[in-house]
C-alpha cells in the first residue's frame, strides 16, 4: 500500500542534502513539506501552515482523543520541520557555549540538555536541545519557526570562531525526525532496537539501528511530559520507520498532530517559543534558570550574562507561572488581575482546556510578588472576570524515564 509513496519519496530525495529545496510545495504560499507529507495526507491528516511548513494539525480522531491516547498509550509525531544541526570540530563545545547558557562541557558522553540561545540584552533567541554524542560532534535540535535565524546566527558565529583560529563547522542534518511519546513508548522501542532501553535514560542519546534502519539517532526526550524518544532518521527511511512503529505489537501507536502536541506540552508546563518565551523574556523570568550551568554563572561568559546574572541576584520583576481556572477557557493574551480584579498584574502567554484535567491550564507572566503557587488571581475572559489560581507546573505528573 505504501510502496508507491516510498518510491516517490526515494526519487525526490536522491540528494538528501537538498531535501528542503525539493520538498517545497507547489502552492502559492510556498510552504515546505516534510518527508512524511504524503504519509500524513494518506492517513487523513488535516494539513495546515505552521512555521513555513505544511503540517498535520490533527487526524481523524481529533485533538482530544489524540491527546488522551498519548497519555495512555503511545503517539507518533512528525517533527521533521525542526532544525537539526551537527556541530563538528575541536572547539564545538566552546562554540555552542558562546551562544547559549548551557554547561555543555559538563555533560556526560551521550547526554543532552535543554538550553537557550540568548541575545546581548538577556532575551531568548530560541530554545534548543544540545546533545553530546560519542561520534565526535554535537547534535542540536532547535525550533522550525526560528530555523532561519538560528542558522544565520550559528553560521556567522562559526565564521568568527574560525577567523579567530577556532576549529568548528555547522552542518544541517537533513534527516526526518519522529517523536514517539507515551507510557508504551519504551516497550515499543525495546522491540525496535538491539540494546537495552533501560541503558538510555531521559536526555541521553545513541546512534543505532531502529527496526534494522541504520544511521538513526535515538534521543530519550520529548515535548509531552511522557516517556519517549525522538528518532532522527534518514529522510528516505522516515515513512518506513513510521509504518513499522505504527504496526508495533508492543503498543497502539497512533499518529498525533500539532494540536495535541500543543495541549500536551502545555499540561507538561513546557514553553512554546514565540508564545511563552521570546527575545523580550529572559531565562530567569521564564523560570528556566535551571538551564544556566553553575560554571556558566561563575564565568558569566554567555550573551546577556550581565543582565541575566543581575536578575538572578535581584530577582526579576516578573516571572512565568502556571495558572488553572474553570469555566471559559483562557488563552494567550488574556489579562491577569490581582485577587480583587482591580489591578492588572500580568498576561497569559498560552492556555487551553486541558483534556486530561478537564480544567483550563495556562501559563503567563505575573509580577514576582504574585508568582507564589496558590495565589488567587482573576483572568479577564471576554470582558468577564474568571477566578484562577497560580499553580505548580507541570500541571500533571511527568513520566520521564530516569533509569
Amino acid at each position: 500500500m505504501f510502496s508507491k509513496v516510498l518510491r516517490l519519496k526515494n526519487s525526490l530525495i536522491s540528494n538528501q542534502r537538498h531535501i528542503r529545496k525539493f520538498c517545497k510545495s507547489q502552492t502559492h504560499l510556498d510552504l515546505k513539506r516534510t518527508c512524511l507529507y504524503d504519509f500524513h495526507v494518506h492517513n487523513e491528516g488535516k494539513m495546515v501552515p505552521f512555521a513555513g511548513w505544511e503540517m498535520p494539525v490533527q487526524y481523524k480522531a481529533g485533538i482530544t482523543t489524540e491527546h488522551l491516547h498519548v497519555r495512555s498509550d503511545a503517539g507518533l509525531f512528525d517533527v521533521s520541520h525542526m532544525l537539526q544541526t551537527k556541530i563538528t570540530g575541536e572547539d564545538g563545545t566552546k562554540f555552542i557555549e558562546s551562544m547559549t547558557v548551557a554547561d555543555v562541557d559538563g555533560l556526560k558522553e551521550n547526554q543532552g540538555t535543554l538550553s537557550v540561545f540568548t541575545n546581548d540584552s538577556g532575551g531568548i533567541l530560541d530554545d534548543l536541545i544540545i546533545n553530546k554524542t560519542t561520534d565526535g560532534y554535537l547534535y542540536v535540535v532547535s525550533n522550525a519557526g526560528c530555523a532561519e535565524k538560528d542558522l544565520k546566527n550559528m553560521l556567522t558565529q562559526a565564521e568568527l570562531f574560525r577567523y579567530a583560529g577556532g576549529d568548528v563547522e555547522v552542518e544541517i542534518i537533513c534527516n526526518g525526525l519522529l517523536a514517539l511519546q507515551g507510557p508504551s513508548a519504551g516497550k515499543v522501542m525495546q522491540d525496535a532496537v538491539d540494546f537495552d532501553m533501560n541503558t538510555l535514560p531521559f536526555m541521553t542519546n545513541r546512534q543505532c539501528s531502529v527496526y534494522g534502519i541504520s544511521d538513526c539517532r535515538v534521543t530519550r526526550c520529548g515535548y509531552t511530559g511522557e516517556d519517549g524518544v525522538e528518532i532522527s532518521v534518514p529522510s528516505d527511511k522516515s515513512v518506513e520507520l513510521a509504518i513499522r512503529l505504527m504496526n508495533s505489537k508492543e503498543g497502539k501507536v497512533k499518529l498525533i498532530g500539532l494540536g495535541a502536541r500543543d495541549s500536551l506540552r502545555l499540561e507538561a508546563g513546557l514553553c512554546l517559543y514565540g508564545n511563552d518565551i521570546d527575545e523580550t523574556t529572559s531565562p530567569v523570568e521564564a523560570a528556566l534558570m535551571w538551564t544556566i550551568g553553575k560554571r556558566r554563572r561563575q564565568d558569566g561568559d554567555f550573551p546577556g550574562a550581565e543582565i541575566i546574572l543581575e536578575q538572578i541576584k535581584q530577582k526579576p520583576k516578573r516571572k512565568r507561572v502556571g495558572v488553572i481556572s474553570e469555566g471559559p477557557p483562557a488563552r494567550g493574551g488574556t489579562k491577569i488581575y490581582n485577587e480583587s480584579g482591580t489591578v492588572q498584574i500580568g498576561e497569559l502567554t498560552s492556555g487551553c482546556p486541558s483534556p486530561s484535567l478537564k480544567k483550563n491550564v495556562s501559563m503567563g507572566y505575573v509580577e514576582t510578588a504574585f508568582s507564589k503557587v496558590g495565589t488567587s488571581v482573576q483572568l479577564e475572559v471576554r470582558k468577564k472576570m474568571v477566578q484562577a489560581t497560580v499553580s505548580k507546573m507541570p500541571f500533571l505528573k511527568c513520566n520521564y524515564f530516569t533509569g
Binding site: 485533538i63 482530544t64 491527546h67 494540536g259 471559559p328 482546556p353
Partner: protein, 165 residues
C-alpha cells in the same frame, strides 16, 4: 409530540444520508429518491458563516452546520446567549471553544432569545455528533422574519461549501 420525534428522526436520517452521499457521490441519486424530507428541508436556511436556522411558528432554531463543526474540531465549552437577550442579525450570540480555538456564533436572525439548549452546555460534544439535531444552540422569536429570505437554502449552501474547499 409523535410527529415531532418522527420529524426529527427523518431529519436526522436525511442528514446522515446526505452526509454519506457527499462522501460517495455515485449513490447520491438513489438516496435522493428515498429521502422523504424535502418538505422539512424547505424550512431550513443557511448562512455563509455556517449557521443554520429552522423556522417554526415564528421562531427560529439556530445551530452550526456539519461543515462548521468539522472545521472547529471537538467542542469542549459552550456559551449561549441568555434568555431574554435581544440579538441582532449577524451579531455575536455565543461562543464555541475547542481545545485549540474559540469561535463566535453569529445569529442569522434578529429577535429575542427564548430558549437555549442546555444539553450542549452540559455535553458540548453533541454539537459535533449531531450538529443539525441534538446539537442545536438557541431559539429566537423572530422580530424580522423577512431576514430568512436573504439566507441560502440547502442546495445553495452545499454549493457554497464546495467553493470553499
Amino acid at each position: 409530540m409523535a410527529t415531532g420525534v418522527l420529524g426529527r428522526i427523518a431529519l436526522r436520517r436525511a442528514y446522515l444520508l446526505a452526509r454519506d452521499a457527499q462522501k460517495t457521490p455515485h449513490i447520491w441519486k438513489h438516496l435522493r429518491t428515498i429521502s422523504v424530507s424535502a418538505k422539512l428541508y424547505a424550512q431550513r436556511y443557511f448562512t455563509e458563516k455556517h449557521e443554520w436556522v429552522d423556522e417554526e411558528n415564528g421562531n427560529g432554531k439556530v445551530g452550526i452546520t456539519d461543515y462548521a463543526q468539522d472545521k472547529l474540531g471537538e467542542v469542549v465549552y459552550v456559551q449561549l446567549p441568555e434568555i431574554g437577550t435581544e440579538v441582532e442579525l449577524d451579531g455575536e450570540a455565543g461562543i464555541l471553544e475547542s481545545v485549540k480555538a474559540a469561535s463566535e456564533v453569529y445569529t442569522p436572525v434578529s429577535g429575542e432569545v427564548i430558549e437555549g439548549n442546555n444539553a450542549v452546555v452540559d455535553n458540548p460534544k453533541l454539537i459535533n455528533e449531531s450538529p443539525f439535531d441534538e446539537g442545536w444552540l438557541f431559539k429566537v422569536k423572530l422580530s424580522r422574519p423577512e431576514e430568512l429570505e436573504a439566507l441560502m437554502n440547502e442546495s445553495a449552501y452545499k454549493k457554497y461549501c464546495e467553493t470553499l474547499e
